[in-house]
Structures are given as C-alpha cells and as structure tokens.
Symmetry: none
Subunit: 218 residues, 2 copies
DNA sequence: CGCTACCCCATACATAAGTATAGTATGACT
DNA sequence: AGTCATACTATACTTATGTATGGGGTAGCG
C-alpha cells in the first residue's frame, strides 16, 4: 500500500492537516482538545482515536502521556502543508483588499487603487509581537486604551521613536524615547503627563519599537 | 543601556538558550520540569521564576496555564540558536503573538493575557475591505491621516457607528452617523468641523461600518 | 445476517504541568 | 546595618491533558 496518504479516511487526513497547520500557527503542537475544537467535536476521545489510527500507520509521532508531543512524520508533513497548490481552495486570504482612499474631511470621490493591505504577513515572520495598550499616555499620538501595538524587537531605537521600555524594576511602558545629555527621556504623548528622565547609570532596556497599530471597533 | 540580551543574568540567559535548543531537539517546546532537569535543578519553581523574569522583559512568549507554550520572541531566538541555519522556510505564523498588556501611563508590571492577535483572518473572509484615510476629520476618535480603516460591508449601521457614507453626488466620506428627526447627521470627530445634515429625501448610501483600524509607523 | 471500518459521544480517572506561598542563601550596593 | 537582585528549595494546590471504559450510530461486504 504505497499510497498511504491519498486514501486515508477523510477525518484522519483532516487531523493530519490540522496538526501541521495548528503547529505552524502557534509555534507548538496542539493538544487533543484543541484538535477536537478545530474540528467541531465535543469530545477529545474522538480525536484520540483518530490519532491512534494515524500512529499505527506511522504517520505521526506521539509520545504516550506527553503533552503536545504530536508531530507529523516524514513526507506527510510536507504533503499536508498548504503551500503547494494554487490559491483557490485556500481557507482564507492573506490580507484585506485595499479599496482606495477615503476622505475624513471634505468628501472627495475616492476608490481607486486595487491591492491588498497585508497587515500580518510582514510582521509575523520578522519576530514582531503585539501588546495591548493600557492607559492613555500616548493619546495625543492616537494610541488609545485598548489598542494593540505591533512591536518589532530592536534594542537600539532612533531618536523620537515610540518604544517599549523596560525599566530597571521590571515594569514596562510605552513612550517616545529621546536622547538627552547624560541619559534618556521617555516622553508620553499626553499634555497632562510628565516625562520620565533616566540617566545612564539607570537600567533601561528597549525591547523594541512600535511599527504598527491596530484597533478593534466593537 | 538598551543592550538587552548581552547583560542578562547568566541563568536567565541559559534558560533562553535551552528553550531554543530543546525546542529544536524535540520538535516542541519544553516544560518547566524539563528545563529544570536540563539545568540540574530539583525544582520547577526556580525555572518558573526565571521564565517569569524573561517574560517581563518581553523575551519570551508564554501563555499562562498552557502546557509547552514557551517560545522565544524575536531576534533573541536567532541569537540563541547554535545551528546557525538560514532559518529557511520559517513556519510563517498566522497572526502576531500577543505578548501581553503594556502601560501607556504609569508603568505597571503587567503582562498577563496571552494569545495571538489575528488581525486579518477574521476580516478577510467576511468580505471586509480596507480604506486609506485622507484628512483629519476623525482625529478626535484617534483616526489619523494615513491610517487604514477596515470596513465591513453593511448598509444598516447602528446609531453612532463610524460609517463609510456615499453621498448623492458620489463622494464618499468617513463619519459617525446619527439618526435625527427627518434624516441623518454625519458627525466628524474634530471640534473644528461641522456635521453634515441630510434629510430623508437626499440620497445617502452607507457602504459599511468601520470595524478595525490599522496604522503603520514608518 | 454477522463482520468490519469508520465516525461520534459521555463519564470517569490518573498524571503532567503550571502556580501560589513561603522559605534560605549569597553578593553588590548604600 | 539595610535593601535589593539573583538563585535555589520545598510543599501544596489547580488545571490541562491524556487515557480507559462503554456506549452509540452509518456504510459496505461476504
């Protein structure tokens, strides 16, 4: 039976595919419960049985009793990866269509360009991460409480950039950073708040610079 | 001194290195117990404390309560890698890891919730599109010139929502919409601008409502 | 018909793994 | 002398996760 993967039962094949995609998505393998949820199942046992079947067929590696040790063996991993085929059956698009420009002022007649606004693709691959904003100190820069900022890890910011600053006591805050004689100034964008001044002796770690902002409107 | 990784405490640095190497070795991230064993420690708690410290410094991504969710963020991952592989087909993730909450105000030592911020996936599939903002009329709502808004097609907005309004003459604008006696009011979020009043006879088409906002920092 | 492969469910249990609390010890710095 | 960061330990708790047991169905096949 050389063509094992092709004539797998549908659900087993689906499990195989999900293991690969969920692992890629999170950076670590899924649990049975997560697989079950992804398949719309109420019970882990169903997935358990499927995985046992896959294991018997030597398509997955699974350490008994070990959490999240589920990995796909050999070529099966490649075969289940999305990258191979033309676009259509893709579950979701990579990006939001950018329909054009709109006026937030005098109305203009908009809608021209036709491309895709790819928010994540550039960031996710370059080690960026997101932080949820708590507080209003960057309000004047249009960063509101509850927004998400996307941070690119980078220890050496340029002057005036918005950075994630980790202070000596382990607390983190979001501010614009300016070099001053003898140290740094962490400047909030809110007229009611005072800057934080640090001299060189004090411990300051810049975790990264803000490269993007995202807000959800309920 | 924004030199983060170099002057980490030795054990924390070791933990960072071990996370990477153990993940490569097994194909999935280690648990605290495994890390402890690899470091010759008898107790998980020691590693736990180190990892918490790394998390505060935003060097690792760790979902609370989730087994084997420990991953290294950003360049730190590269720096700790021994193999120096070209990092080839980096499993491009679906989404940006949401590392926690950061203070834009008084520094807090937060960092609690953890998940992935999936910006596009929810929108791209539901017919949403993006528009680039031109003008400052929504400034007080934190929508700036050059931002991108994500619009969900929907002809019947609720009161007070931000909508893409297409006027009778074909021009489009972004405003909050309110029902008034006998018509609608399109309200800018800028104290220096006046609302647009429309009565029912006038042609007003709502293209959709704003469900998201995205901004790129150059 | 019995038999099999496939697919799903629920309950219960055992253990793996993360977390809280509370200590001890060392060295650096004030 | 005190405080602080680092580093480790121990016990106990909660939850996440895997597993066993015992059921249901459907469909094809000899």
């Amino acid at each position: 039976m050389p063509e094992s993967i092709e004539d797998l039962p549908p659900r087993q094949r689906e499990v195989l595919r999900l293991i690969v995609s969920l692992t890629e998505e999170h950076g670590y393998p899924p649990t049975l419960a997560e697989l079950a949820q992804a398949m719309g199942l109420r019970n882990r046992m169903t997935v358990h049985q499927h995985v046992v079947a896959l294991k018997k067929k030597l398509l997955v590696h699974w350490e008994p009793g070990l959490n999240r040790s589920l990995t796909v063996i050999g070529e099966a991993a490649q075969d289940q990866r999305e990258s191979t085929l033309p676009a259509e059956s893709q579950t979701s698009r990579r990006g939001v269509p950018l329909a054009g420009t709109i006026a937030a002022g005098r109305p203009i007649d908009a809608i021209e360009t036709d491309e895709y606004l790819e928010i994540e693709s550039g960031y996710a691959d370059s080690g960026c991460f997101a932080l949820k904003i708590k507080g209003d100190s960057m309000l004047d820069d249009g960063i509101h409480d509850g927004d998400y900022v996307i941070v690119k890890p980078q220890p050496t910011p340029r002057n005036g950039e918005i950075v994630v600053a980790v202070l000596g006591d382990g607390t983190a805050t979001l501010k614009r950073i300016y070099k001053e004689k003898g140290g740094f100034r962490l400047q909030p964008a809110n007229s009611q708040m005072e800057p934080i001044l640090l001299d060189k002796s004090e411990n300051l770690q810049v975790q990264g610079v803000v490269v993007g902002l995202f807000r959800k409107f309920s």
